[in-house]
Amino acid sequence: MALAVEALEVRYGGIRAVRGVDIEVGDGEVVALLGANGAGKSSTLLAIAGAIRPYAGRVRLDGRDVTGSIPERMVRAGVAMVPETRDVFPDLTVEENLRLGAYVRRRDRADVEADRAAMFALFPRLAERAEQTAGTLSGGEQQMLVIARAMMSRPRLLLLDEPSLGLAPTIVEQIFAMIARLAATGLSILLVEQNVGKALAVADRAYVMRLGRIAAAGPARELAAAADLKEHYLGG
């Protein structure tokens, strides 16, 4: 699914977190959104997902204006969000978390069942812990769970906010391998990351945000070649 963000602004009271951002994600494209802490990446993602109301600007899905939609409508429109806060429902089991991920299509029981089996095949650790409460999982397992849960809604656009944050290197490898596999299925992905190297390796294109604005954009390969990227935009 194609996403177009136009002149997006997000404010928290007087704080201007996002100051006129344009982002495009083509059908089946993986786009990385990079930037230092506080650049406004999460705010951008949350505004697209409908979790916060944009102050100004437009959000379009396949050309259709969905600006300011409530989050539940965005899910129905095919957008799944994985926030950086990694919000598993801690007192629900892994299985219940996944079941909730399929909330919008809960009536297709057979399909949901098949998807859950597919997710368990993809994440064997989750299958082993299906009956455990999500709060007892490790950070890496929780990250896998929130991604698997998001996929249960069969999204056409996946918004991923810093999936590698605070995880051990081997887990980070697994998560990025996972993202590559999802991308190969034709899913559109907007990936926010601090791990610039890994994000650019998996992405087709990238944007760099700085102080609420887009500071650089281009094909992932070109940005990866630009040696000064880190010093200039990502705060070293």
Binding site: A49, G50, A51, I70, P71, E72, M74, V75, R76, A80, M81, P83, D87, F89, P90, D91, L92, E96, N97, R99, L100, G101, Y103, V104, R106, G135, R149, A150, S153
Partner: protein
């Protein structure tokens, strides 16, 4: 021995009613992080519905269903009138609107019906007594225990087995995240108010059944009981609310049994002192809820 059995029956029947009251309050609090101060009026609404249909030839059970239905409708109306318009604005605004809605309903009852007690129809069985293990006890107590057991089991089952139940538990921890999975906020909130009404309506039948009358301020005591029980049990946990209800009933009943006659009129003072002690020991209540979650 019979004294012990009598004590257990008293605790369980009072505790069953308290637990249902507390659960009805905490189901809404868990999701909105807001106390519904118009909760007692759900009980009042059920009571006046019983009074209003008492002249009809309907069987009591049908009247009871109508009364519970009225509490459910009033619960949902509370959401639409007092919560939904100001929910996103501020906690204070909702406190004020829910107080205002409570007062409005009480005043309506005073004006349209009467400030004086009105008698409500009760089934024969409420005034019967039964002998159980050599203890003579009102049948109403056993009905209360059975009703609480059935409702608590159904409630637990619904929260564990149905998608909506799972969604409600999820919404109680991370409301926005649940919405980002497609769980409709308004459906979850309306369902919480409807369940609140269902529990309050059922409690109303049993609670008002003790005295057989309804007055405009009849909801005040149940609201207070529910509030204290949830505070003891932990505002964030459904299990805590039930536990708090039974514990409060245990304290009340134990004081009833042990206090000398001339101190009995100060029972509530003793109860509150114990509640304060419990809260000094466990300020967040006995059962901690899930660790995270903001107000929505």
């Amino acid at each position: 021995m019979t004294a012990a059995i009598q004590f257990v029956i008293d605790v369980l029947s009072l505790g069953g009613a308290y637990a249902l009251m507390a659960l009805g309050l905490v189901i809404v609090y868990g999701i909105l992080r807001l106390v519904n101060f118009a909760y007692g009026e759900l009980i009042m609404a059920a009571g006046y519905t019983l009074y209003l249909v008492s002249a009809s030839p309907l069987p009591w059970l049908v009247m009871a269903v109508l009364a519970v239905g009225a509490a459910v409708v009033t619960g949902i109306a509370t959401d639409y009138v007092a919560f939904r318009p100001v929910r996103a604005k501020s906690v204070t605004a909702v406190l004020i609107t829910s107080f205002a809605f409570s007062t409005l309903l009480q005043n309506a009852a005073q004006l349209l019906i009467s400030p004086r007690p009105r008698s409500i129809p009760l089934p024969e069985v409420f005034s019967d007594t039964v002998t159980l293990f050599g203890v003579v006890t009102p049948a109403r107590n056993l009905i209360t225990i059975a009703a609480a057991a059935v409702l608590l089991s159904l409630f637990t089952l619904a929260m564990r087995r149905t998608v909506l139940g799972i969604a409600m538990r999820a919404a109680a921890t991370h409301f926005t995240m649940a919405r980002m999975l497609g769980v409709p906020a308004n459906l979850v909130i309306s369902t919480a108010f409807a369940i609140s009404g269902l529990l309050a309506g059922t409690v109303a039948l049993l609670w008002l059944g003790r005295i057989g009358t309804v007055v405009p301020r009849v909801g005040l005591e149940p609201l207070l009981i529910a509030f204290i029980a949830t505070v003891i049990g932990g505002m964030r946990s459904l299990e805590g609310a039930v536990l708090g209800g039974f514990l409060l009933a245990f304290i009340d009943t134990a004081l009833n049994y042990s206090l000398p006659q001339d101190l009995l009129k100060f029972r509530d003072a003793f109860t509150f002192s114990l509640v304060i002690l419990i809260l000094l020991w466990r300020p967040a209540g006995l059962v901690r809820g899930p660790a995270t979650g903001q107000r929505t």
